[in-house]
């Protein structure tokens, strides 16, 4: 009996692996996982909520405190907790149960369905209170997640184009190489010409705050400044200076590639800095919301 049972499981697992392989070959991402299974489930859920909301006449007016409101609220709160569990699931390697891709697919589509479940739970009564705060946080989390899905779908191609088959460390290494060459080439220069080169060498390629990372604009770039200064400079050592200027131009190109890379990565990552902290803020606000309802029952 036991062997029969385990044999069954093995066969099922083998079949599942087979399906998984086919999916891998087709490069099926989490968005179109299993033929948009979770998109359909989530869409159906939204439709069910919208239609039942229209059909059920809650007196005296639609309200989070009606039986229908409580139902939507309970579904929404449980969904929020389950969606948060993706953070736990992705850190746990497992062959069993759901693949992480399936889980992510469900996370994205069920998360989007929360827009309907949560908003319809409010009965469209919003105000300056903890209840609406929880709703607003939920919407921010969902919108940041939506942004994440969009950038995950669009930016990796740009990222790949920009890196041109280089690794991150290779990009950095290129800058280092130009720095070494610059250092050597600038030795003959006088003090006035050395200062901008030195500033260019001292420039941290990873410097700049979140604003520079997201925009990719570095208006006070020392390398660019040095290039401008030396190109405009006159005086002795013209040959050495021309070499330095050429090297600075090359370094600028390498820096630009690195900075474009950093920008794309920042755009890919920044939503998580909203999504994750606000999720926990949401769970705290949600707890306050639920407890407040029962406290002043």
């Amino acid at each position: 009996m036991a062997s029969l049972f385990s044999g069954k499981i093995l066969r099922r697992r083998a079949r599942a692996t087979q399906t998984e392989r086919v999916r891998e070959r087709r490069h099926e991402g989490f968005l179109r996982y299993a033929g948009f299974r979770w998109a359909k489930i989530s869409g159906g859920l939204c439709l069910l909520v919208i239609v039942s909301y229209a059909l059920i006449d809650v007196q005296p007016r639609p309200n989070g405190g009606s039986w229908y409101g409580y139902t939507l609220g309970t579904v929404g709160a449980l969904l929020i907790l389950w969606l948060t569990a993706l953070g736990y699931r992705k850190r746990r390697m497992t062959r069993d149960y759901w693949s992480l891709k399936a889980w992510t697919s469900a996370h994205v589509y069920l998360g989007l369905s929360l827009i309907v479940i949560g908003t319809w739970h409010t009965g469209f009564q919003l105000g300056w209170n903890v209840h609406t705060l929880a709703w607003a946080l939920m919407m921010l989390v969902i919108l940041s997640g939506l942004y994440g899905v969009i950038v995950y779908a669009t930016l990796p191609a740009a990222l790949s184009n920009n890196r041109d088959q280089m690794t991150q460390m290779q990009m950095l290494e290129a800058i280092r190489a130009f720095d070494r060459q610059l250092h050597a080439a600038a030795q003959p220069l006088g003090a006035a010409d050395t200062a901008p080169v030195l500033a260019a060498l001292e420039e941290d390629p990873f410097a700049g705050g979140i604003r520079a990372r997201l925009t990719g604009r570095y208006p006070r770039c020392a390398t660019a400044a040095a290039q401008r200064a030396l190109a405009a400079a006159t005086g002795g050592e013209a040959e050495a200076r021309a070499k330095v200027v050429a090297l600075l131009t090359q370094k600028q190109a390498a820096l630009a590639r690195l900075r474009a890379h950093l920008r794309l990565r920042a755009l890919l990552e920044v939503w998580l800095y909203v999504h994750v902290p606000l999720t926990f803020a949401l769970i705290a606000a949600l707890s306050a919301h639920v407890i407040s309802v029962f406290f002043y029952w």
Partner: protein, 627 residues
């Protein structure tokens, strides 16, 4: 003594190779330029940066040439004297110059300590290329935000509740638990906005009736008298057995400690600013829909008919009528043939409302004097009460006497009328009148001219006049009889009882029912834009005063449909009508409560229409009209 320049190179395997090179002279130079004794390939070092000199072979003087100095013990200096025996570390750009003494020699160790450039420094790839370096960590953000939320919106409100526990009334101002307000309070309770505890007394206990009657001490203190008098078993039997959904909801309500039957079941709060919404129909229909059968099955007597929805399931009205002359008022069932209501009056509505005929002509002749048109209208005789809700009982002097005059004499321009409602007084007045007034004096008896004798003879003018005069007091009895008999002033409208032993003329008492529908509330004022005859459809054809003209259910349903629009027939302009539009639950005699936005504006105030004053009754000389 001499300077020794020491350089240390590190092989790939990590092995260090030390090379010493003696330098000649007492003074040696240091700089980026290759001509220097110590050549430092460092852009941060000037071509000729410094000189290092020793006079005694032990103390060393380091002098910076120009501009850039060097660092010693964290300070930037241009000149420094160093005891080589004690040693020192100097910094030139990214290089370190260590001065030490070995035997008789001063050893100068030059090493690059800084990276060539910033980018050459080691980086943690995962950190440097991600946003982790420029933004506070996600975990920090998560904890910070979550704690802030819990403090502001959970700990704060509970603290506010705790600190005012047992306090009757909170001071005005902000309290942290206002953040929990789930929606604006109704206008009546708006001042309780900051005082959640006035209703939510105990935590995790649903709002109790005690919180309501704490303020509502007078009116609405209890449930309806009719319901409160019923035994609890009867009330329970009346309730419709809940369906699956109802049982589930009841189960949840029980599990979450929300007992049924509280004031707040009907009077829901936090539903938005403005007046509290009217109680929905289902709170009545829960029991009254199909209640009679349930009560009967439980062994109780059902005294009211079933009602589910005004549009589809409402019993026919049962107005209060007197089924026979002099009978006690009782409830009649409409819709089962004609219903008679004997009030004691004679009044044919059809005659009075005719467009042609004597009444219309008389009314037309009064145009300009009274507010009559070409014919009589309902409003010419029926006046609403001051509040406009009901129609006041008809008063003879005010509503009838402009045509049905009781005037009988004019003394010095003052009209004397028979006393309405006091038959004995009428009789006495008529006797007095005939006793005190002579008959009309013939014209022949006037003037000062001399008359011929013989006027007293039988059939002559004196004879006729004085005989009449002598007999006049006796004529009073005839006049009294005439007034109370057919064709007389009283008889036209009243049922008259002739004198019997021991009593004089009697007029049957008149009863005008002020409110036919005692359990429902009908507001005439709310219907003033509708013509009377639209509802009182039988009035223009009614020949008897005993015809009951109260409209039935079907007339109401011409406009009024159920709360959710349910109806049996086609309705042009439908008015959704929940139970509370006509019925008052608490039974304290008032008008059913209606939210202000549903109340009608007082049209009178807008149009300036005047209500009718008393009709003034004037004496019309009988001679003028020939009678």
């Amino acid at each position: 003594m001499s300077f020794i320049l020491r350089r240390i190179a590190t092989t790939k395997t990590g092995k260090q190779i030390v090379r010493d090179q003696p330098l000649d002279g007492d003074t040696i130079t240091l700089g980026r330029d290759s001509g220097n004794a110590i050549h430092v390939a460092d852009l941060a070092v000037n071509p000729q940066h410094a000189t290092i000199a020793s006079a005694d072979g032990r103390h060393v003087r380091v002098t910076a040439q120009a501009g850039l100095g060097f660092d010693l013990n964290g300070r930037t200096l241009d000149v420094a004297d160093i005891d080589s025996a004690a040693g020192a570390e100097l910094r030139f750009g990214g290089h370190r110059l260590t001065i030490a003494r070995e035997g008789e020699d001063i050893v100068l160790l030059v090493e690059r300590i800084d990276e060539l450039s910033q980018s050459s420094k080691d980086v943690d790839e995962t950190r440097a290329f991600s946003l982790a370096g420029v933004l506070p960590g996600k975990r920090v953000g998560a904890w910070t935000f979550a704690l802030l939320m819990l403090l502001a919106f959970l700990v704060g409100p509970i603290w506010a509740w705790h600190s005012y526990r047992g306090v009757d009334e909170r001071p005005q101002g902000f309290h942290a638990d206002q953040a929990w307000l789930s929606g604006p309070l109704s206008s009546a309770h708006a001042n309780l906005k900051g005082d959640c505890q006035s209703c939510h007394v105990e935590p995790f206990v649903a709002v109790t009736d005690r919180a309501c009657v704490g303020c509502h001490t007078g009116e609405h203190k209890a449930m309806s008298q009719a319901h409160a008098d019923a035994p609890p078993a009867m009330l329970l039997a009346a309730r419709a057995p809940p369906g699956v959904g109802g049982r589930v909801l009841a189960g949840f309500a029980h599990a979450f400690n929300k007992p049924p039957g509280r004031c707040v079941d009907c009077h829901s709060e936090h539903e938005g600013a403005g007046p509290m919404p009217a109680t929905p129909q289902k709170f009545c229909a829960d029991c009254h829909d199909g209640m009679a059968a349930r009560l009967k099955a439980a062994g109780f007597k059902a005294t009211v008919a079933d009602a589910a929805d005004f549009g589809t399931g409402h019993p026919e009205f049962r107005p209060l009528v007197r089924a026979a002359p002099g009978a006690k008022p009782g409830r009649a069932a409409l819709g089962q043939g004609a219903v008679a209501d004997y009030g004691g009056l004679k009044f044919p509505h059809d005659l009075h409302l005719q467009a042609n005929g004597g009444v219309a002509r008389m009314a037309a002749s009064f145009r300009g004097r009274y507010d009559f048109g070409k014919k009589l209208e309902c409003a010419n005789c029926h006046r609403p009460e001051a509040d406009g809700v009901r129609i006041a009982p008809v008063e003879m002097e005010r509503d009838c006497a402009m045509c049905h005059s009781l005037a009988f004499e004019s003394v010095g321009g003052v009209t004397r009328t028979l006393r309405h409602g006091e038959p004995d007084q009428v009789v006495a007045d008529l006797y007095a009148y005939y006793r005190s007034t002579p008959p009309a004096r013939p014209l022949q008896l006037g003037g000062m001219e001399r008359r011929r004798p013989g006027g007293y003879a039988e059939g002559q003018v004196y004879n006729i006049y004085f005989r009449e005069r002598a007999a006049r007091p006796a004529r009073a009895a005839d006049a009294v009889r005439a007034v109370f008999s057919k064709g007389g002033a009283c008889y036209d409208c009243h049922t008259v009882v002739p004198p019997a032993a021991g009593q004089g003329w009697q007029v049957e008492a008149v009863h005008q029912t002020p409110r036919f529908l005692g359990k429902g509330w009908f507001d005439h004022d709310a219907h003033k834009e509708t013509a009377c005859a639209d509802c009182h459809t039988t009035a223009p054809r009614s020949k008897q005063a005993s015809d009951l003209l109260v409209p039935g259910l079907s007339q109401c349903r011409d406009c009024h449909v159920g709360e959710s629009g349910a109806r049996l027939a086609k309705v042009e302009t439908a008015t959704a009508s929940p139970c509370a539009m006509c019925h008052e639950y608490h039974g304290d005699g008032g008008k059913p409560w209606v939210p202000a936005r549903q109340r009608r504006k007082p049209v009178i105030a807008i149009t300036g229409a005047q209500t009718r004053a008393l009709y003034s009754v004037a004496w019309r000389a009988p001679g003028a009209g020939g009678g």
